[in-house]
Symmetry: C2
DNA sequence: CTCGAGAGATGACAACGTCATCTGAAACTC
DNA sequence: GAGTTTCAGATGACGTTGTCATCTCTCGAG
């Protein structure tokens, strides 16, 4: 038997999953409270029992994504079979892969909401901390913060360029996101050798 | 006396200016066709005489911004008082400055519309070509395309991180967008010396 | 002078986010 | 176990939005 609080929690999860699905398949415009409710098996008003408004629901979806990324970053850092450079490259690739596979979710993760300007930074905490530690192994504690910020920013930009189709321009000679990541990590490594 | 076509063109310009103003001050949500019309001195239906739909209006605003950036890039390239490295740095700073001063416009410039996936790439053509030439002066024709793509992507990412407030996190030790740009250009220069 | 074209105004419609209110069942009190 | 509280969900309504069909009026060509 399912208790009332269990059922409520299940609905909340269903709403989050529905919103994430709709975001993936149809973009932000497809995420309407009515559609989310319908996909979760409830009506349009039900989400208001779990989230104060639509923006909060989207923040929750983005936070969920950041948390999963944080776990992957931690696993990457803990992987003893990889060199520091490989870990850095892996971290960047992980981020860029989200941008490629789930461009709308990715955009959500980096678009901070007007209502709560700190929501993103809070959600991104763990991912960034893990990545910072990985970078420190490569470039040392002294310069870690600057280079970690640069690397995350660059990876973010590469993913964004790819998502908006700007990288596909023949002007760039068919360069891929992976090429740019390699170039970047190569430059970092050359700088610290 | 103003002719009819002149007045129509003036309305079109007024609509574009109104949309850009509203975007700057209140973000994308503030750009409603009714508000744009009101600010341009017409009613809500008038924009449909100049743009097929709202998305087209926004594309036009973004295209305008890309064109102005293209002009600035050209002027930068033509400036004989700057070294190649300074030109590259200037180009990146110009882009990042737009991100800082007009974050909503900046986001629009890099957010590819569902209706016309090639609109952005077309609008960005000139800016990218100019920047490509500047980069070629620094790293040579051979590697110019890859590094230009990397630099634009990175600048884009830096601007995005700054705009979403993720750079302000104390974790990064108070690093600024300018710091990251300098670090990036410094690495490029070191690689090609 | 006539008339077609086109810019703008206006009314209407469906979809949206949101709120107030209602309903019913689970959970708690005695 | 009966009565009461609580809360997830359903429903109706409202204001706003993008968009379309239709109407008006004025400018410019013939």
């Amino acid at each position: 038997m399912i208790s009332r609080v269990e059922s409520a929690a299940a609905t909340r999860r269903a709403l989050l999953a529905a919103a994430a699905d709709l975001l993936d398949s149809g973009g932000l415009d497809a995420v309407t409270l009515r559609a989310v409710g319908a996909r979760a098996g409830v009506t349009r008003g039900a989400p208001y029992r779990h989230f104060p408004d639509k923006e909060s629901l989207l923040i929750a979806v983005g936070t969920q994504a950041w948390e999963m990324l944080g776990q992957r970053m931690q696993a990457l850092r803990a992987d003893s079979g990889l060199s520091p450079a490989e870990k850095v490259r892996g971290g960047l690739s992980t981020l860029i892969d989200i941008g490629r596979r789930q461009p709308h979710l990715y955009k959500l993760m980096f678009s901070n909401p007007p209502g709560d300007p700190t929501a993103l930074a809070r959600a991104a905490q763990r991912s960034q901390t893990e990545f910072l530690a990985v970078v420190a192994d490569l470039v040392g504690e002294q310069e870690a913060r600057r280079y970690a910020a640069l690397l995350i920013s660059s990876a973010n930009g590469i993913a964004g360029m790819e998502a908006s189709g700007l990288l596909a321009d023949p002007k760039w000679g068919g360069v891929t996101a992976a090429d740019l990541t390699d170039t970047l990590v190569g430059m970092i490594r050359a700088t610290f050798l």
